[in-house]
């Protein structure tokens, strides 16, 4: 594949100063993402996935190396780069509808169009009945869906999604995965999605980036060369899934030697993932 790199992450290192010491959250990470590509990222908790997304979105520019979007260095946030945060981060004083409208606040669109887009996205995430509800009246999954709608509504060039379906039930999750895929296919938005769900990663991604912790590095990138629409239960998909899982297990195995007891649990949770969410 020889596509134009749309997002170029070049030798990026990000360190945090933590109680006197310095913690390397990302160590010399390089990742090129093509225009219109769907990249998914998996990795153990704390391996720097959120950190990487924040750098990509321009929310954090305090790094070594370079982050380039469409040929221009990223030096701050932009409406062309959308972000769906790991926690929904809804504004508690705004109704669901107005929270979603925040995504269009600076879009310059006329009011009527904004209204229509908001309604459309409420529908998309199944929250039409809750348009006038306040965030505290939503369940965790509903709040997360509202956050997704806010990230999507202004149709950015690139959308970074940090575990967007983490708090959803299996059925809503599969439905939203398909909706997201449809939007991606239709709008050709470049998408970078972080997830802990390996099935989701291989189902959605053109490529799956596997990260390893301490320090945060890219361990392997697995291509999912399968045509879409994909069948969740297809043997070919399961093969890719197993490869990703193996690779992931090895990354956690690496820590295994460091901290035996705790990590055992982590790898256990990874392999406990249901083989298919939608059998």
């Amino acid at each position: 594949m020889t596509k134009v790199p749309h997002i170029q992450i070049e030798n990026v290192t990000r360190k945090f100063q933590v109680s006197g010491g310095s913690l390397v959250a990302l160590d010399n990470v390089t990742l090129d993402i093509a225009e219109g590509e769907f990249v998914t990222i998996v990795g153990a908790s704390g391996c720097g996935k959120s950190t990487l997304l924040r750098l990509g979105a321009g929310l954090d520019t305090n790094h070594e190396g370079s982050v380039i979007h469409a040929g221009v260095p990223v030096d701050g946030p932009s409406l062309d780069r959308g972000m769906v945060f790991q926690e929904p981060r809804l504004f508690p004083w705004l109704t669901v509808e107005r929270n979603i409208a925040l995504g269009l606040e600076n879009s310059g669109l006329p009011k009527s169009e904004k209204k229509q887009l908001v309604a459309q996205h409420l529908e998309l995430v199944g929250l039409t009945a809750f348009a006038k509800a306040y965030p505290h009246q939503l369940s965790g999954g509903m709040a997360q869906r509202a956050g997704i709608a806010r990230g999507l509504v202004n149709r950015p060039d690139v959308l970074f999604l940090d575990e967007p379906f983490g708090a959803l039930d299996a059925i809503t999750k599969t439905r939203l995965q398909d909706e997201l895929q449809e939007i991606w296919a239709k709008e050709r938005i470049t998408m970078v999605l972080v997830t802990h769900d390996v099935d989701e990663a291989v189902y959605l991604g053109d490529r799956v980036v596997i990260m390893s912790p301490r320090p945060g590095r890219i361990r392997e990138i697995v291509e999912v060369n399968l045509p879409r629409p994909r069948v969740r239960t297809a043997a070919t998909l399961l093969q890719v899934r197993n490869r990703v899982l193996n690779s992931l297990n090895e990354t956690t195995g690496a820590i295994d030697r460091e901290r035996p007891a705790a990590v055992f649990e982590e790898s256990a949770t990874v392999s406990k993932q249901p083989i298919t969410a939608f059998a």
Binding site: T13, R14, K15, F16, Q17, S22, D60, N62, H63, E64
Partner: protein, 272 residues
């Protein structure tokens, strides 16, 4: 590789203006007071306002020195402080008792709270004329008024503090078969302390405000009296000095409360 440190969540600061950036925090804080003093000095020097409306700063300073040297300021401050301490102690003790009683017993709450709330609605200043008729204008009046100022917030905050103690802690107490007294001493009161402290803070502030009020209306000594007297004689320097003295006492009380609160906070952290 250079180590870059930044704490997540702190919005990056805009580059500040050079001028202020160079000045220390302390120096920046002084800019406004110095500007006001200068303006004051220029205004009185040029005679923009009559002496009776704005005395010269030098004059106020001299007056202050005299009043300190003669012990006058200290005397009036002492009188006021004594009143506040006695009144506050009485009012706070009563408020604490009522707050605890209402907090612990729903029956007491049912009986006492409506009347208490009605009583609390009347501003302290409202009571002064009524009490002047009842008890005259001597020391008793002042103590009662100051005590009332402390009583209401103290009772209210103690009550809510006790009522807001998480039932989970109380359950722990039940599980450990604490007696009622142990429950109170080991769980309820410690958990209610931050709220009680808020009561003390408001109580002291209200006491101090009430004191100034009652001294303005009926007193022949104390800082409030100094204010009225200076006003009547059109000695604005005296008025300003009394205001500064009142401000300093308020400041010291505030600092005292803050450090006590810190002490309590530390103890809370140590316990956790």
């Amino acid at each position: 590789m250079a180590v870059i440190s930044e704490f997540f969540g702190h919005a990056r600061l805009r580059p500040r203006k050079r001028l202020l950036g160079r000045l220390g925090t302390g120096a920046t804080a002084l800019v406004l007071p110095v500007a006001i003093l200068t303006l004051w000095w220029v205004a009185s020097d040029r005679g923009w306002l009559p002496q009776q409306i704005l005395p010269a700063p030098a004059y106020v300073y001299e007056m202050a020195r005299d009043m300190i040297a003669s012990g006058e300021i200290l005397y009036h401050t002492g009188v006021s402080l004594r009143r506040v301490i006695i009144g506050f102690a009485i009012g706070a003790a009563l408020g604490l008792s009522l707050g605890i009683a209402m907090g612990l017993s729903e029956v007491v709450e049912d009986y006492a709270k409506p009347l208490f709330l009605a009583f609390a609605q009347i501003p302290t200043l409202g009571w002064i004329p009524l009490l002047m008729l009842l008890v005259g204008i001597d020391e008793t009046l002042k103590i009662i008024i100051i005590a009332k100022g402390a009583f209401v917030p103290m009772a209210m905050n103690t009550f809510t503090g006790i009522r807001n103690v998480s039932p989970r802690y109380i359950e722990v107490g039940h599980a450990l078969r604490f007696s009622r007294w142990q429950q109170l001493r080991l769980i309820i009161l410690p958990a209610a302390i931050p709220s009680i402290f808020t009561g003390i803070r408001y109580g002291l502030t209200h006491s101090w405000t009430s004191l100034v009020g009652v001294e303005l209306l009926a007193s022949s000594e104390g800082l409030g009296y100094l204010l009225v007297w200076g006003r009547q004689m059109f000695w604005l320097d005296t008025v300003i000095i009394a205001m500064i003295a009142i401000g300093i006492v308020g400041f010291v009380m505030d600092k005292g409360l803050n450090s006590t609160e810190h002490l309590i906070q530390r103890w809370k952290k140590g316990e956790a």
